[in-house]
Symmetry: D2
Subunit: 407 residues, 4 copies
């Protein structure tokens, strides 16, 4: 009996089995740049609050692709036309949508590659891989880039209801154990349709959208912007800024080769496009490397660096308070002065330990609408058909303010 | 080795093991009136849409008691004083809170015992059992009745955040497979506290409350007021009204003994209080009996009764449309006339097949407030501290209208 | 915009969404005979021990069909040929495989339709429906009946690894809350293949089979043969036998019309085949009707009938002991005599309260082999390739004995 | 209103909420040595096959402690006496039972600290912490060390049915998505008791034990000894051995400070006991550091080291075959010779790429019995009372053999 071809199967704790039925997908997953995502955790430092939340971007990318297959099946079943080529491109685009993420992306984007969004980096990566693959990724790139004629395909990859959001809410909820973030992915996908070349949700799906938005909002405050996580992430930003400062001032600081490249100089997206080596260097960065650096830095002679590194490594985080009003400068100054006295340090150094900023919960982005397909065939903004939410509420940005400090 | 006493354990698909550690509770569960709840399904006719939703009120009552034990533990752990007697009374009160439910309670309350709420009937049942138990249930009755000095105890049994709502949302979501209704019961309970003799939720629990309310709202539209369920339940109401009418007009209709009692005469709560036999008769009613009647009624000579019964038994339900505006009388009349012509029947008879009414989603009851304990010690209405919900939205009752019809 | 055709979706608490994509299937589900399964619970009286286990055969049948679709997809994906006609027939056959079940099938088969298996009754039902459907079910019937050339198709419907077993283990485990019965359905299906026209499991699936068999064995002792369930079911058998006896002796006993037909006379499968009305009468029987009778019987003048009925209705079950050795006749006799003295009744009557029998856990049926497809292409019996199980262990029938009694 | 003391709560994806109600436990969790466990994954390289399996030993340790609280509650509820001091000591002992694990413990124990078990290292850690805590851990150490009079307490920490095994099976199953490993922890704990100063399982728990053993066996073959995992882990062992060899031969190899210490010299448990600095150095090791080294090693001039490191980093693993018979030396030699020819390397170097060994599935350890408390009060070995398993089967060690190779 001859051996039969069959799909490769990957166990996923959320969806059960994810089947990989396309040789291009299999080759992409095997690519070094994609394997790298195993070493980049999805939620950065959140595991300091939610010990289960150690899941990687690798697993998330597979999950997104699984959902993409489901939504493609649904849409075709409703009579929408999605060709084999488009279908494959969609799977590729969502699989690679996050490939440009660096370690602790939030921290990194605020300290190292400050000028470049991870979406742009993802695009650089895709282009680089596309060359290895003789152009096989071109349609996927066009869709990702929103240059493809059928614009609803882009919306499946990137919009308020894209497969990315659907998977990460479900996944982050699952691994953190915050059950309130769990969403009805099957029902949402089941209610999607296409009208006027744009992704719509059928009318009876309004409550599902409300539910989805509230779950998203909940996850923001409970997990993504949990105060302890905010403190830890901002400490990491301060640490990386400090290292950058020290290196620029010729201090002798341990730092891994690839990280050094990005600390010594600021790069723009142009640089990445012109110098293909930069992608290679960037792809070398991962969470593990940062952690190894942090252990070295604990021994640094620089008080700021060693103290903050020690704190992160041993979870002795800065205290943090969150409030609805802007933090008063005077409150901050008092804390800074007392810190300077206690630690015999400069105000500038104290600024690494006492600082404030704004938090924004952008669970609903009013620039990209969610379209509802009414039973009578009309298409309307979700904002206008929901009993529960209206434009005022949804667009009122939910801002809070935090103050990190040490006594 | 002597046999050790140990708790009785009941498997629950949601909470795993429910332990019964109190002899009074065990005796109550064994009581005929409580065993009866096994034969009354929690969600009436919803299983016609959600085949998994066959769970009984018996299981729900046990679940509530399990949550009550959890919240008592939490509150005591926060330093609140709840005596052993109060603790037992709370468990008894929640165990029995629904004991007055008849079969298909919604349908029954609209057709048979029209003047009496199930809460009042539950109280009658409790009093009856209390006599059998020589007054052991008195504190439970006082709490249920809101006559006990510590009024927060009543709130645990009956309020916007009582253990009843917590269990039924979780349970109905679980059995129906509508995952969106799943709520974070553990977190909600964990954030409960007592202040000024009243149940409060700590400030950081605001998002959990929002989540809870939206889940509740979702379950209303998706399950409790699902259009097919609305059609089926209203058909059952019409059937029972028809039987009542026929009996009062001396038709020879099969009906079980206990049901007959409640169809021949209208009783008030006074009657129940004065005539203890009524409770016994009422306790004889259950879903199974109604189903058996429905099968007999399918053979009835009365066109209305036989046709509607056949339809329920074989799930050939009346068509239904739901809309935001009141149904126009003219639309209804046209349908009625055409029905009369087709079926050679009177307008009055057609009214059993074509009718309209209002649906109300009371997911938030603005009479009973949810109190938030702010970090600064103040207590405020939830409505006033939520960014997402305000009084306007919450109090705006969500009404819809339905029209059932047959062509 | 025109309305798109799309699948009908049913929420299932286990698999999420079950999609119904075939008009024939939809029509079958709407058939009165299939709707009847809503009123027949999957686990009979087990809910007296596991309050969550109220799920119906209707839900199970849908679940089986869902798994059938999955296995068809897998097999085709491995290069096996299953035509559209066969695929539809498989779904029909599994959907209807249990349609011949009466209420409390175990009890019924031991008291009422004693000569006829539910498989034979299912076949009668299928034939009856086939006439309504102008022969559209013929291939399904041939597969069910094992008369179809590709015999592996029959194995998917009925064998040690059929979709029936896969769904009921998972479902009964889920609803009872006995997590130990949960099986890895996806992995099992993923490892199925066809060789020599017969269903095989690929070699790496051996551990999954072991796991499956032990889960099955566990469910037998923990749920299906739980001692309290055994007591309740045998009490019901005794009750039905008593009613039969009383009716045959012209006692005036309340009994519903359809049940009466089967109590007055014993029918054979021939009778069913010749008299199509019998199927109609049989289809009228359901759990609810039996429960309604039980309430009437509680009032009967016959001591045996009223006492046993009261016990079932109020869960005052007979005591039961289970042991590895046959119950001694002398032990039983002592109990009978003492019962007679206490209740002033005959020995024959006492035999309804004190009786013993054998319990058999047939978790592995050594008549129907599980075939393993080794990596080298050979096919071997599971018994011969498992390290853990061998023929001796698997074929050693696991018998126990029970004694029900009342003091 | 004064702030109430209350438990600290940690979200766990498996158990929901884990509450920490003891200040000693809280201080231990904050200890650097314990925080370190966040950076040591529970399943080493298994995430290369099961992408979800990224959970840390930190999370596992908390889970064990949670189960310990449950079993203590159960045993006390059955009348067993466990004092407050013992109860706390049990929680401490299980919390710290794995604290001596290094990164990729299996790999490490086979290459670096070859003479020392992780249990002994855990003990060293506990002693070191005990000094910081002024002896507060002494009872916990005695229990862990099996020097405490009530020997059943030790069994809760370390035996065939200890809380460690219960949590890790459930947890590894959950995160890997291999549902077959899920065990009924609540039922198992519920059936535990103490007799003759020893942990026993009540008779009706026999099927649960069978289920537990088969689940354990399943997890061994499906996850812990999955062939891809075996290949990866053995590659890591080879890499560490190679580095050790190179360092001992004075090659200039990048290696982190703490790792260097353990590569330059072999230490015994005596060394650890005498030199408290060793524990500090050892505690500095974590997964992240090894990964950072692996990236450096990819650039090494040593062919063996760079090639193997590249393979692990990019998941280009050595091929592996697993069989029931020992691998023949001649088969291996052929592969080695061909490898030497192709890569122009020595046989010794080829031995890093082509090697074989034995795999042992020790799901049941016949040295430590599981005792069953029969209903009649007797205590018997599980082996002797199970129908399904007997000594022959259980003690038959399940050995397999593997061959890793590269073409």
């Amino acid at each position: 009996m001859k051996t039969q071809t069959k799909d490769k199967i990957i166990n996923d704790p959320i969806y059960g089995f994810i089947s990989l039925d396309d040789s291009l997908i299999l080759k992409l997953i095997d690519h070094t740049y994609f394997q790298r995502l195993r070493k980049i955790s999805q939620l950065g430092l959140s595991y300091l609050v939610y010990p289960g939340a150690t899941h990687s971007r690798f697993n998330h990318a597979l999950g997104c692709m699984h959902l993409m297959k489901k939504v493609i099946y649904q849409l075709k079943n409703k009579g929408q036309i999605i060709s084999k080529i488009e279908s494959r491109a969609l799977k590729v685009a969502i699989l690679l949508h996050d490939i440009g993420h660096g370690p602790f992306s939030h921290a990194l984007e605020n300290s190292i590659v400050t000028e470049i969004s991870h979406e742009n980096l993802s695009l650089c990566f895709m282009k680089a891989i596309n060359e290895d693959f003789n152009g096989e990724l071109q349609t996927a790139i066009d869709i990702f880039n929103n240059k493809y004629k059928k614009s609803f395909l882009h919306q499946l990859v990137s919009s308020q209801l894209d497969m990315d959001r659907l998977d990460y809410l479900k996944r982050d909820s699952f691994f953190s154990g915050v059950v309130e973030g769990n969403i009805g992915v099957d029902r949402l996908i089941n209610m999607m349709n296409i009208a006027n070349n744009s992704l719509v949700v059928e009318e009876k799906g309004i409550y599902s959208i409300e539910k989805f938005l509230i779950a998203r909002r909940f996850m923001y405050w409970q997990v993504y912007l949990h105060k302890t996580v905010v403190s830890a992430e901002n400490m990491l930003i301060k640490i990386l800024k400090r290292v950058k400062y020290l290196i620029m001032n010729n201090s002798n600081i341990y730092v891994t080769e690839s990280l050094k490249i990005f600390l010594e100089k600021d790069y723009t997206i142009k640089d990445f496009n012109q110098n293909t080596n930069l992608i290679k260097y960037f792809s070398n960065l991962d969470d593990y490397e940062i952690y190894t650096c942090l252990k070295h830095w604990e021994q640094s002679k620089d008080f700021v660096l060693s103290n903050l590194s020690y704190r992160i490594n041993n979870r002795k985080l800065l205290k943090i308070k969150i409030c609805n009003k802007k933090i008063s400068e005077s409150e901050k100054h008092k804390l800074i002065e007392s810190f300077c006295n206690k630690n015999k340090c400069s105000q500038e150094e104290a600024g690494y330990f006492i600082f404030s900023d704004k938090l924004t919960n952008d669970f609903y982005n009013n620039k990209s609408k969610i379209n509802i397909l009414l039973n009578n065939g009309e298409i309307k903004d979700f904002e206008k058909v929901s009993d529960q939410f209206d434009a005022t509420i949804l667009n009122k940005s939910s801002n809070k303010y935090f103050l990190c400090y040490s006594k």
